[in-house]
């Protein structure tokens, strides 16, 4: 039995069925991401001063990935328009461009951005010990400038075994610029370009530390929500790419030859999903990278 109304419109809705289907699915997706975004808002509003980090993510890389996703949204809508104009060859190229954009986005995320975080270390200092680490934290300077207090020392952990070995009493950290030179006014606000840890080594006694981890979901509410939301978003990108690959393979050419409108409608539906994924990223990018 053939599925009805894949090409022609249903008289009562005025729509072909897949379009109704994808919009119902996207409605459920809005609720899914809506739940996660409200968790983000709640965690952020509830974070005590100094407990919501800023400037930990690489802004130029995030901006580039945003541009790539926007570009892919343009190429997929152009691919669809080419099908509508019955130019399969051009459709095929635009689809390839879309797939490549999706793959680049995921590669940047999984090969560069996430692993760089896994290699970064942060130690939250106990309130009573903050004074002792004033040279790294510069809280007097921060208070004078009206900045939130600095409670964490971050950088590259030299003795990584300190995380698991209870006999090692201190963390040796190649300090991030903000902790290496905390009273420098240039450190008052996050930098646009990524600045790697300095050569300056800071020693932190384990007993002064409230919590010390690599930048993993366990690090803070910030990273927990960052990895959850970008991870789920990344899964959506992966799903989109897989479906686009199917639309791009020779098997779809057969659909096109049978009825070009059928493939055009399929591409439109997948395109709607892809634009939605782009739309989510439009909010994710400023919330995590910039604010």
């Amino acid at each position: 039995m053939e599925i009805p109304y894949t090409i022609s419109t249903r008289p009562d809705t005025g729509l072909w069925n897949a379009k109704v289907g994808i919009w119902l699915f996207l409605a459920s997706e809005v609720m899914l991401f809506g739940g996660l975004f409200s968790a983000y808002i709640f965690l952020r509003l509830d974070a005590p001063p100094g407990m919501w980090p800023h400037g930990l993510l690489n802004v130029p890389v995030g901006t580039m990935n945003t541009a790539i996703l926007i570009l892919s949204s343009v190429t997929v809508v152009l691919a669809w328009a080419e099908l509508k104009m019955r130019r399969y060859r051009r459709y095929w190229w635009y689809m390839l461009a879309t797939i490549l954009c999706g793959v680049i986005f995921l590669t940047v995320k999984l090969v560069y951005e996430w692993p760089q975080k896994f290699e970064h270390f942060g130690a939250y200092i106990k309130p009573q010990a903050l004074e002792k680490y004033e040279q790294y934290l510069g809280n007097k300077h921060a208070a004078e400038k009206g900045l939130p207090p600095r409670l964490e020392i971050t950088g590259h952990l030299h003795n990584r075994e300190a995380l698991t070995n209870p006999n090692i009493k201190e963390y040796e950290v190649a300090l991030d610029p903000v902790n290496a030179d905390p009273t420098n006014p240039a450190m008052d606000r996050p930098h646009f370009l990524y600045v790697p840890p300095t050569d300056k080594i800071g020693k932190i006694d384990k007993e002064d530390v409230e919590r010390a981890t690599m930048f993993l979901p366990t690090h803070s509410a910030y990273f927990a929500s960052y990895f959850t939301i970008t991870g789920l978003h990344g899964l959506h990108v992966l799903g989109g790419v897989l479906v686009f690959i199917y639309m791009w393979l020779p098997v779809s050419k057969k659909v096109y030859q049978r009825n070009p409108e059928h493939l055009a409608n399929r591409v439109e539906v997948c395109g709607l999903f892809w634009h939605f994924v782009d739309l989510i990223w439009i909010f994710v990018f400023p919330l995590f990278y910039l604010l």
């Binding site: 809005v30 926007i70 328009a81 909010f283 400023p286």
Partner: protein, 113 residues
Amino acid sequence: MNNPPDISQDPSEHEEYAHNVQKHVRGYLTVGALLLAFTAITVALSYVDFGTRKANIAIAMLVATLKAGLVAAIFMHLAAEKRLIYRVLIFTGFFVLGLFWLTFLAWYNPIVR
């Protein structure tokens, strides 16, 4: 912007149709360029101090909403869609705003205060 009409089987009308779609393509390219420009603006504005962090967040979300609106209206063809889809989305909007409202209530905690 309207959706391109369904393609005609009549070859003489086909040329006119292709011309119509071509006009839409220009619109899509313009929107793509606008979105890229707004991305640059969002990044630039985040390094401007608007007094409070709340003000910075509000401005960034305003630009993001504008961008999302462009994607939804033009790329997702919501500027001209059938009624059934608007109906679905009105319900979605209502419930997702309700969800954010619940979050606000939980944070504001009106029962204790």
